[in-house]
Symmetry: D3
Subunit: 212 residues, 6 copies
Amino acid sequence: MKMIQIVLFFFALISFTTNAIDSDDFCVANLFLTSDTPSGYPCKSEKFVTADDFMYSSLAAAGNTANPFKVGLTSVNVSNLAGLNGHKLSAARIDIGINGSVPMHTHPDATELLIVIQGQITVGFITPTKLLVKILNPGDVWVFPIGLLHFQFNSGDGNAIAYAAFSSSNPSIHVISPLLFGNNLPTSTIQKTTLLDAAPIMMLKGVFGGSG
Amino acid sequence: MKMIQIVLFFFALISFTTNAIDSDDFCVANLFLTSDTPSGYPCKSEKFVTADDFMYSSLAAAGNTANPFKVGLTSVNVSNLAGLNGHKLSAARIDIGINGSVPMHTHPDATELLIVIQGQITVGFITPTKLLVKILNPGDVWVFPIGLLHFQFNSGDGNAIAYAAFSSSNPSIHVISPLLFGNNLPTSTIQKTTLLDAAPIMMLKGVFGGSG
Amino acid sequence: MKMIQIVLFFFALISFTTNAIDSDDFCVANLFLTSDTPSGYPCKSEKFVTADDFMYSSLAAAGNTANPFKVGLTSVNVSNLAGLNGHKLSAARIDIGINGSVPMHTHPDATELLIVIQGQITVGFITPTKLLVKILNPGDVWVFPIGLLHFQFNSGDGNAIAYAAFSSSNPSIHVISPLLFGNNLPTSTIQKTTLLDAAPIMMLKGVFGGSG
Amino acid sequence: MKMIQIVLFFFALISFTTNAIDSDDFCVANLFLTSDTPSGYPCKSEKFVTADDFMYSSLAAAGNTANPFKVGLTSVNVSNLAGLNGHKLSAARIDIGINGSVPMHTHPDATELLIVIQGQITVGFITPTKLLVKILNPGDVWVFPIGLLHFQFNSGDGNAIAYAAFSSSNPSIHVISPLLFGNNLPTSTIQKTTLLDAAPIMMLKGVFGGSG
Amino acid sequence: MKMIQIVLFFFALISFTTNAIDSDDFCVANLFLTSDTPSGYPCKSEKFVTADDFMYSSLAAAGNTANPFKVGLTSVNVSNLAGLNGHKLSAARIDIGINGSVPMHTHPDATELLIVIQGQITVGFITPTKLLVKILNPGDVWVFPIGLLHFQFNSGDGNAIAYAAFSSSNPSIHVISPLLFGNNLPTSTIQKTTLLDAAPIMMLKGVFGGSG
Amino acid sequence: MKMIQIVLFFFALISFTTNAIDSDDFCVANLFLTSDTPSGYPCKSEKFVTADDFMYSSLAAAGNTANPFKVGLTSVNVSNLAGLNGHKLSAARIDIGINGSVPMHTHPDATELLIVIQGQITVGFITPTKLLVKILNPGDVWVFPIGLLHFQFNSGDGNAIAYAAFSSSNPSIHVISPLLFGNNLPTSTIQKTTLLDAAPIMMLKGVFGGSG
């Protein structure tokens, strides 16, 4: 009888945090019915939340590197791991083939932490006053601060693998070359804002599918 | 006539902040039609907001302490005081009977400030490097930093009352014992992750309604 | 053929950030279908976003200063520049006629940065320990910290123009006199909470349309 | 022997969070050697932190109400409760004598939650579109959103007591009347920015010690 | 005598917010004695704060456009307007000569709001899925979201002037071309991470002072 | 000659962001001379920053699992990777031997994302309303929301390895058993706040080095 009292008490204690509304213990993204907000997706009702909402399966397979950069990217973010919603954290697997590279890019909304798993990767980022470059081997960890222009390339003699963590639940990757040459931004505009000549611009517009 | 001009002008000034959309002066929670977001509930339309949205009535009565811990909790959060939405602030009244206690728990999302109103309460929190404990009397104030394991117990000879403020509009209370023993987490899992023996685990699974 | 491969690769790279869900590159306010949240408006679907969402046209005309304060305010915030949503930034144009002023007010949710374009404006803000006042001329810049009581007045001999930037996408302007005298707050309440006599209160209730 | 191993292991586990540097479990303000930052005071070294850093003693006594407003304020913030540093939470005790009031004021940096302990207090806040007023009795709770002009007055027939919690570790109180009339802001400036006549301004400059 | 009482009372009220420590009304940067923190510079002691800490004088003069881009930039940030410290707001004046441009760049830490004052400026920003471009005339306002690649160029037939506001007290400007070509990043690295040929890289290394 | 002009111009452009003070591109922790703040460590002067500040070497070796839990933890945080300062991101390597476990614990200040590299790990977290448990295999990713009680154990037949990312630059690990039993918290206090009997408490005080 005493135990029953205790159990009832703990139902009461629990209800301290679960009145008519859900707790703030987590806010699993409801991706399907409603749109994003500046702080993330609206929360799925707590009663429909399951362990599957907190799991992504799986990063075990290599990304497809059958492309000119020989780079494969597999991203785990709020779009495929809804439990990340509101948490400013996500991950990715990066595969880089021999002589391959992750091209010059920025993440406008996330710092990136890179852990090399296999092979040798040369990393670097550039600010107006600094060019910081390092050769990383398995187990080495590197930080790319938010918004800075950076790159990685396979400087070893085999395939390279790394995992990345980001300080955003849905980081963007903005690759400079397709941003500049992959749309219909006029060649004259690119010229005057980069000092590149028309010839390499038109060449790269061809490569990245741009026009104009 | 001059006054009419002034009045019209102030209607214009006011409309500086109240175009088609509501101001950001407050965002009273619309709890009924829409779900939570990582930053809180969507705002009720300003035209339906009244003083009742900013008032909770009342913490005057003692919480029910007729349970084994002799503790009564009454919480004032965004679920019953919708004006707290988006403000990272809420409150509670805590009644602790003679020999009663608020069991070991954490608030994953809030710092707690405690003001003792009546009686004597011994408080403490525990970190990997510190055990900080104090005896509080009426008028004493104490801080439990966010996420830390803490407890309170009545160390006086009469009923104790305290008010608490939290740095969240909807703080959770995670009591360690029912978290560990009040569900179907297997005894073997609890054993290997706490080093408790099977016997006390099974005893407390009985107490807190757990199985497995 | 090689180029086609590269193009396809970049479509793949781009899709790294554009799965089923929108990127977080921007969150243009959807003002029409849904209500605000504590972090801003829900995002318009990325496919409907155009350049118009990031442009306001235009602040070229002077605001209407045909009122007793001889002040014209034109605000550019998330209500008329939806691309500001979630960005904690907005702007306004302020026109002050000869002898005109921006009355004593606060912005509860924004710091203000003022750039004088034309004329001479005297600015000041007040805290419990400081009264800071300066005369500004064209090109001068001033900061009003968030929440502080402040004012501006035209201290030159021609019309004055300034642009303001705010650290909020939807700043409020709370002008002290109409807050105190423009509603039905009882005269006795204003008396006991300001120490003003009844006569000036009733006079200003007349000016600002208050009663009671 | 096995226990010794376990103990050593837990020393190792604990050192996981306590390398050369302190943990982030708390950041008790070091108020004496160094200046504030926008996020709060630098942290006192963890090894000098004691339970006294998290306790304030005591709010038991009434504040001094022997003044014209008959209001006594006792504040518990990071200056006298250093454990609040970085936590965006603090408290105060408010005593209001018969016919007394807390004058019109704003908190530029904090939302306030008020719990009435004794007596009857009428509360209210004012926005450009709303005047929200309520009569509170013991146990009633009220929210004053950040930055809004508000007031309280004793509307009962005995002394009133309330506790307040704030969403800042060091909230400011900006009382409108001394801000306007308690310094050397010229009467002509106050006139043109409030529309008050010179006579009540000069009267209140006398009351609040202002000149000019 | 009554007035003296009131005055003394308000000294007491004021001291409510000014105990041994400074208020949080502002945190003017102490730039000289101490280093930055992730939230900004340590605060200058309140007793040394003057109106000059909140003023920058002056943006009235055009920036120097005697350079190949014909662009002059004058920045007002925490380094020359210390009152901006902790406020996530700053400003700049931009002068663009005939045929001049602000080259392709990002602000890793700030959203930018642009107000055109004189002339015609074509603006644009680029994301993986959008190229958004507009022609702006005096009074037009534009938003460049944080971290996105963007540009401006003078598309009129006279000098152009704009003011910019930023959501940072110390925004960086990262111009793509000097980042890529203005240091000793090896040509082979630039080639493999941009797909540019060696020839234009070496040409631009010459332009921007790079080597390697 | 034209190139020299351009180069000089870009030195000027760069100096736009590097006046007397450092940029905000990064804030590498100065761990040695100054204490932490609520937002992180003061910044090392930009001129002394090198690539080493952004690299940790190395996580390649297994942590020491020669302890009763057979778990080895290697943490990469702001204490050994100073470039993480201010970025709310860090990492760890977790090795779990056969039958080993990561005991019941919370991170009061960080969400954790786990990537399994080798072996099979069963993970789970507990809230007042949910027990969510999953078996993870290599490549699987899991999220433990901030502040929630959670555990991991090796459920495979070989050693297990995982990498973890945290949404804090210096996450704490609070293991429940040593928090409760590894200090001099009186047995009677533990009893009344957990409902455990004295016998298992005293047994575990022996295990974890507690007294009292």
